[in-house]
């Protein structure tokens, strides 16, 4: 085998490693990959990482428990949506406009400084969405090291994003049933009451505009 052919063999075998790991190569390809692995330390190292990635993805360790659901409830929901699709176009357009406007109002209200806003409260209470993603911002105390921060974020759940590691500030997105601003502020106060947290506030929500 000349040098060029050898390099090609390495490249082809290396790019097949993910499918060697997931068991979908055909027999001929599998034999080729196995033979290459016997002589290529680099591919053996890459194979180890592919196996780790596959195991991590299959473990479901970071995925929350799926919601309880039934096929029957879904089909009932589908029937309702089909009925909505049968509405005249102008009624659908009107419904879309209402949802869009209320979502925008909610975003404006929650981003305002000052007292709780009744308009926001009404909007979230009236929505028919199963969950809304609420965004909290929190700042840790200077004494909270990486391990403490990691544990706190794990306990709080949701999706954490470091927005300013130097100032120990994080943004935390929690998917919750729609609720009033007062309840969200109470939840932020609960978070802020933890000794390792210096401050916490509700800053925004993410709502689909259909």
């Amino acid at each position: 085998m000349n040098k060029t052919a050898s390099r090609m063999t390495h490249a082809v075998a290396n790019e097949r490693l993910p499918w060697y790991v997931n068991g979908t190569l055909d027999d001929e390809e599998r034999v080729e990959v196995v033979a290459h692995l016997e002589v290529c330390a680099e591919c053996r190292e890459d194979l180890a990482l592919c196996e780790d990635m596959a195991r991590a993805v299959r473990s479901d360790g970071a995925v929350p428990i799926p919601p309880a659901a039934s096929a029957e409830a879904l089909l009932r929901h589908g029937d309702n949506r089909a009925a909505l699709r049968r509405l005249p176009d102008w009624r659908i357009a009107a419904a879309v406009a209402v949802v869009s406007v209320t979502a925008a109002m909610a975003l404006i209200a929650i981003n305002r400084d000052g007292a709780p806003n009744q308009r926001f409260t009404a909007t979230t209470e009236q929505t028919s969405l199963a969950t809304v993603d609420y965004v909290f911002q929190l700042r840790f105390e200077g004494t909270a090291d990486d391990a403490v921060r990691a544990r706190t974020l794990e306990e709080l759940g949701g999706i954490a994003q470091a927005i300013d590691p130097d100032r120990r500030e994080y943004r935390l997105t929690l998917s919750l049933a729609p609720q009033a601003l007062a309840d969200l502020e109470a939840r932020a106060a609960e978070i802020a009451a933890r000794p390792e947290v210096a401050a916490a506030e509700i800053v925004a929500l993410q709502m689909p505009v259909r």
Binding site: W19, P165, Q206
Partner: protein
């Protein structure tokens, strides 16, 4: 909120059974749909959650996909596995949902901060899992389709509507990114040559 799961998922050998279920669903058989629902709902939810990082959107996507299966089962041509067809629908629903929600992706560098002191295999898996969550959308989706759903290269290409060479390139770059991030982390390095 987090929990390890032992939920089973459809295996490749189940395709004949699932084709039978799809035929019955196409004829309006609710009991057959119930069986497909039980097989796919948890898996679709986890797939969508990994892709979108949103509980609400994952729930919406998994429901939307199964509704499409109920409504369009008659359109299943049978030239791919049932799971490939269903995850093709899931892919399109996720992309549509992401565009609507304008979701952000957690950058890989932030993953470092979350768990820098992991030292066991389970913690290493969790770290990798989060790191995969921080990959660019196309790479993350490809990794999920290959390792989580178990698609071939060609099936992944079909679902994502790109050439097979692009699928291989995305998998390669995803692996290299994770490798670079692992080297920067304090995680224990796995022995070279371990298979």
């Amino acid at each position: 909120m987090n929990m390890r799961s032992t939920a089973t998922k459809p295996r490749r050998g189940d395709d004949a059974l699932e084709r039978g279920l799809i035929s019955r669903v196409a004829a309006g058989d609710r009991e057959a749909f119930e069986q497909l629902f039980r097989r796919y709902h948890p898996q679709l939810f986890r797939f969508a959650y990994r892709l979108t990082s949103s509980y609400g959107l994952a729930e919406e996507v998994s429901n939307d996909v199964l509704l499409v299966v109920w409504q369009d089962a008659g359109g299943f041509r049978g030239d791919s596995r049932v799971s490939t067809w269903i995850f093709g629908i899931a892919y399109r629903c996720c992309i549509k949902g992401l565009r609507r929600r304008k979701f952000r992706w957690v950058p890989l560098r932030d993953v470092d901060i979350i768990d820098r002191h992991a030292d066991s295999r389970v913690e290493r898996d969790d770290w990798l899992d989060r790191a995969i969550g921080g990959l660019p959308a196309e790479q993350k989706l490809t990794v999920l389709l290959v390792y989580y759903v178990g698609l071939t290269c060609e099936e992944t290409a079909e679902v994502t509507n790109v050439p097979a060479a692009t699928v291989r390139t995305r998998m390669f770059h995803a692996r290299k990114k994770l490798q670079a991030a692992l080297e920067k982390s304090a995680l224990p390095v796995r022995d070279k040559g371990t298979t």
